[in-house]
């Protein structure tokens, strides 16, 4: 366990010592929050939007931004693995007695802490900008926890891409290729029920959509236990596919 924490600490130290990277990671969702809430803020006054149970656009949009920050951090996780492979650092890890699972767990640990901090910071900023969390502090914690769980799954897929392609550019390209579709095939920007039927059906297979919908529920109307359960099941299903695949790829490194 201490080795996991130690390896994770190394990954966090690397992020902290690259303040520009940290700043950009946090600044991006903040810019999006400001821009989208200004651009689409008028949607909050539309009757159809309010009929879905949403109070205002900022509170509606904030969960999507929390998930977006997790998507970018997850992408950086795969890039960090690629960097370790390229630099020869991964060979050093693999030629040491540390178990491969421990190496991976160290990265997951670092990703988890980073994502928890990012989620909290974005929620604080959104609240300062006027967003409200109707489900209270517990609802805010639940959103951060669910989004982090999704982020860890996404990070695992990003690591899988890095391990399979062994190519930093390709890993990044795959990540960016999927990031926006994952967000758009959800209610991140626009209520799901007002989207075309086929997009609603696709969103049904998108774990991010469940997390965002649950977050919107928590921020706009309060807790909804059946919705929470559906989200947990979707995340568990995604984890069952993504994490073993990544572990398998890591065993073959």
């Amino acid at each position: 366990m201490s080795t996991v924490v130690f390896i994770g600490g190394r990954n966090i130290a690397r992020s902290v010592r690259a303040p520009m990277l940290l700043a950009v990671s946090l600044l991006q969702p903040v810019i999006w929050l400001a821009l989208f809430s200004q651009t689409f803020g008028g949607l909050g006054d539309v009757a159809q939007f309010r009929a879905q149970g949403y109070q205002d656009y900022l509170s509606f949009f904030t969960p999507g931004m929390v998930v977006l920050s997790m998507l970018f951090t997850g992408l950086q996780s795969g890039m960090a693995t690629m960097s370790d492979i390229d630099s020869g650092m991964m060979d050093k890890f693999l030629a040491s007695p540390v178990r491969r699972l421990t190496i991976l767990a160290g990265r997951v640990w670092a990703d988890t802490l980073t994502m928890l901090a990012q989620g909290a910071i974005i929620l604080v900023i959104a609240t300062a900008m006027g967003a409200r969390v109707r489900a209270g502090p517990a609802g805010a914690i639940a959103l951060i926890a669910l989004a982090t769980a999704f982020g860890v799954i996404w990070a695992s897929l990003s690591n899988l891409a890095a391990l399979l392609t062994r190519n930093a550019e390709l890993t990044m390209a795959l990540g960016f290729l999927l990031t926006l579709p994952v967000l758009f095939m959800s209610s991140a920007f626009f209520p799901l029920r007002l989207q075309p039927d086929w997009l609603q059906r696709v969103a049904g297979a998108n774990p991010a959509a469940y997390v965002i919908s649950t977050g919107q529920q928590l921020l706009n109307s309060g807790n909804n236990t059946p919705q929470d359960v559906r989200t947990i099941i979707a995340l568990a299903a995604a984890a069952v596919i993504a994490i073993p695949a990544t572990l398998l790829a890591f065993r073959k490194v």
Partner: protein, 279 residues
């Protein structure tokens, strides 16, 4: 129990028997190599580019699995018990595997802990090891800000941090200036004679191997073409014969020149390549 190669006496630290590695796509990188290295020996593994040196080294340090054959380090099979092998080896590959965002001391301590040292032991060991490699003054500097030669020395230091019984060094002197190379050889000789550490290194610089290695093996096209003490291999090639002549006789190609200018240039290129691969 596999049969040891001829000449093996049981005091061997490295035992390799009929080792074969065929990569996906059919490239036969290693083609039935057998060799032994005794405890405390400095063993030079020589060969032209693409001859299979690095593949053999990566199999011995458990980074690659052989297609056939066996290899044992201090009696432990690299395929059956890779984790046990990793506890007794140190490894520095062709490219510097250091973390540019950590300081030199943090890198050393980090690797010590990876190899099972306690935090206290690792932080105690780091400064003394850095001093050995003339890196004491830059211990608190981030590795990414060190010169190419310093990074190479740091990488070599990391391979020794946990006092391994066997050290594998892939092209260790590439990128080092003459003083650093001399210091490295002196440290390797001290480890070999005083601590009984076995050292397996690949190099294309034959004059170095001639001077420093107890025994050498020459690999070409994945096959071992010569093995023995440098003096024995040169025997019969004339009184002024060098290991270059042995190399030429067995591989049909000239080894890399030892000329300082060329060596320095290759070092600069290797260091630049190593940094360039970082991000």
């Amino acid at each position: 129990m596999p049969i040891l190669p001829s000449g093996a006496s049981g005091a061997e630290t490295i035992e390799v028997l009929d080792l074969v590695k065929v990569y996906q796509g059919g490239t036969r990188a290693v083609d039935g190599i057998s060799l032994t290295v005794r405890r405390g020996e400095i063993f030079g593994f020589l060969g032209p580019n693409g001859s299979g040196k690095t593949t053999v080294t990566k199999i011995l340090v458990t980074l690659l699995k052989p297609t056939a054959g066996t290899a044992r380090i201090t009696g432990i099979d690299v395929t059956a018990s890779p984790r046990e092998v990793r506890k007794v080896i140190g490894y520095a590959g062709q490219f510097t595997g250091i973390d540019d965002d950590l300081t030199a001391a943090e890198n050393a301590a980090f690797h010590g802990i990876l190899h099972g040292l306690s935090h206290a032991e690792a932080w105690q060991r780091a400064p003394e090891l850095l001093a050995t490699f003339a890196l004491g003054d830059v211990a608190r500097q981030r590795a990414g800000r060190l010169s190419g030669g310093m990074r190479r020395r740091l990488d070599l230091a990391l391979a020794l941090v946990h006092r391994p019984k066997v050290i594998f060094l892939d092209e260790p002197t590439t990128g080092l200036d003459p003083q650093s190379r001399a210091a490295l050889w002196a440290e390797l000789r001290r480890l070999s004679t005083e601590e009984g550490t076995t050292i397996f290194l690949t190099t294309q610089y034959l004059e170095e191997a001639d001077r420093a290695a107890d025994r050498v093996a020459i690999i070409d096209g994945g096959r071992l073409v010569a093995e023995g003490a440098p003096a024995v291999l040169k025997d019969g090639l004339g009184t002024k014969a060098t290991l270059d002549d042995v190399f030429l006789k067995h591989t049909g190609s000239k080894p890399r020149s030892e000329s300082p200018a060329r060596h320095a240039m290759s070092g600069i290129l290797a260091a630049a390549h190593g940094k360039g691969r970082r991000r």
